[in-house]
Subunit: 317 residues, 2 copies
Amino acid sequence: MSSQTLLQKLAEDYFDLNGPGLLILENEPTALEFSRLVHISRPVLIRGVYIPSVRFWSDEYLAAAMGDAKITVAVTPDGRADSVVTGPNGKHYFAEPATEQTTMGELLARLSKEEEDSDVCYLQSQNGNVYSSAFFEGDSDASEFLALRADIPREIEWCSEALGKAPDAVNLWIGSRRSVTSIHSDPYENIYHVVRGAKHFTLLPPTEGGCLQERLYQHAVWMRPNPGGPLTLQPSEDAPPIRWASVVEPDVPGNLPDSAHPIEITVNAGETLYLPPGWWHHVRQNDSTIALNYWYDMEMRGMMWPVLNMLRGEIDS
Amino acid sequence: MSSQTLLQKLAEDYFDLNGPGLLILENEPTALEFSRLVHISRPVLIRGVYIPSVRFWSDEYLAAAMGDAKITVAVTPDGRADSVVTGPNGKHYFAEPATEQTTMGELLARLSKEEEDSDVCYLQSQNGNVYSSAFFEGDSDASEFLALRADIPREIEWCSEALGKAPDAVNLWIGSRRSVTSIHSDPYENIYHVVRGAKHFTLLPPTEGGCLQERLYQHAVWMRPNPGGPLTLQPSEDAPPIRWASVVEPDVPGNLPDSAHPIEITVNAGETLYLPPGWWHHVRQNDSTIALNYWYDMEMRGMMWPVLNMLRGEIDS
């Protein structure tokens, strides 16, 4: 038997056993309940996570609290940051966004008046932009969102207790309907809390990553060579190629093979998604969507990491 | 790549990540701590499990408590019950033991005077002989050890709480140095507590089952056609063949391939082994060894079951 056949059979067995469903909790789990869910390692929509300090954030409050503090936002022509794009020469690249410095007030104003042909801004710095790993290790860090830390819990208590550790990174995300996160997976336990708006996730289990046709793409970056001018795609000559999914819109019917069993889930304001390590996720959102996510290091002992590695396997370039 | 190569690579990755070691706890875990260990799914030697009511069981106490109650014991010529044996025709069979009814007093007396050429008795009925699944479902059950239930806890509290369920079966094991349990794996969470004597486990992770060369063997049963006469092996004509490991003594150096990384662990009186589902185990013991084991159903949701299935794979007959 070929390894491909073996992995297809594993994906079928996994689906036969687990089905197409998403677990839904109406209330926050206890640490022990969440520990059991981590063992099952399937996504869970949790309705009862209540963070009162962020629940009623308004644009005015955020702009006033942040004041003139500079924040880094991703900018692309079409909202596709960290995605496979077609360059002017017809070649496909993995494109990183341009980054620009702005203020919270300017970002929110820009998002509220985005038009179809304007560049797309997305606060998605995802480097632990609120609390970084340095913060959790007791070192100083240079968060751009110090002024919002009083509102943003540094951890999700039942998750930290279940996993026996602090988060590795806590991020704030602010964007519009035009920003889309291309499908990928992370080696992290992920608690994703929507503060305002809604996030639409298309999920695939780790067993079905083969449906995404990962390939190696030349790295490129969106640049704005002339202030006020258009963004242009700049291929990176010396960067190593980036392994990425070739399926750009897995949420569009017909773009995935019949063997894929995507889970479509909308996470509304006040709701939280637990996304286990290795789960593939494509994320769209409503206008004016604000979210927080808590990444925790996954358990490296045991079987999960070697199995995730096996499932990603080797690829053709 | 062949599936065999893929699974060998998985076994190597698993060993590289997890190493050869066994986790050791000096104290009983909390439910949450144990839940994390279940997720890691590696064996743990736990030193602090204290069951005072069984700790000082003597032969005299056990014989008196059980009185004339009949108990079922396994009998073989050589201590190899549920094992691959060579029949008189030179063919290999999977042999089940003869079963005989005796009393606790008789069993203990017989074990204490076993000689090298006598038949070997082993109390190993392992059908939930103390508390069965029927018991935990609230039905009556016909335990042969009702008289000892007052001494034997019906569950391990931190394990039941961690898993969110009662055991599926609780078993009492009483045997001698001559009884050996051949290497196999179970789809259960297993808490194995040694009351008296010592159990010597040879463990292999689920990833290394391929080293055991599972094959299909004709079923046979040890029978005693004439009371007082010798045991003879009776092939079962209509029973389906049994899939079993061909390596009979994995604890003997050289019997496993170099790619195997067996863990050798002695569990002494008062100590407890947590053995996760899918782990291969071969078990020897000292004379006069008494043990209790608690089987809990494994979590069937998630990735573990399909992966264990994949690791066992298909076999040649």
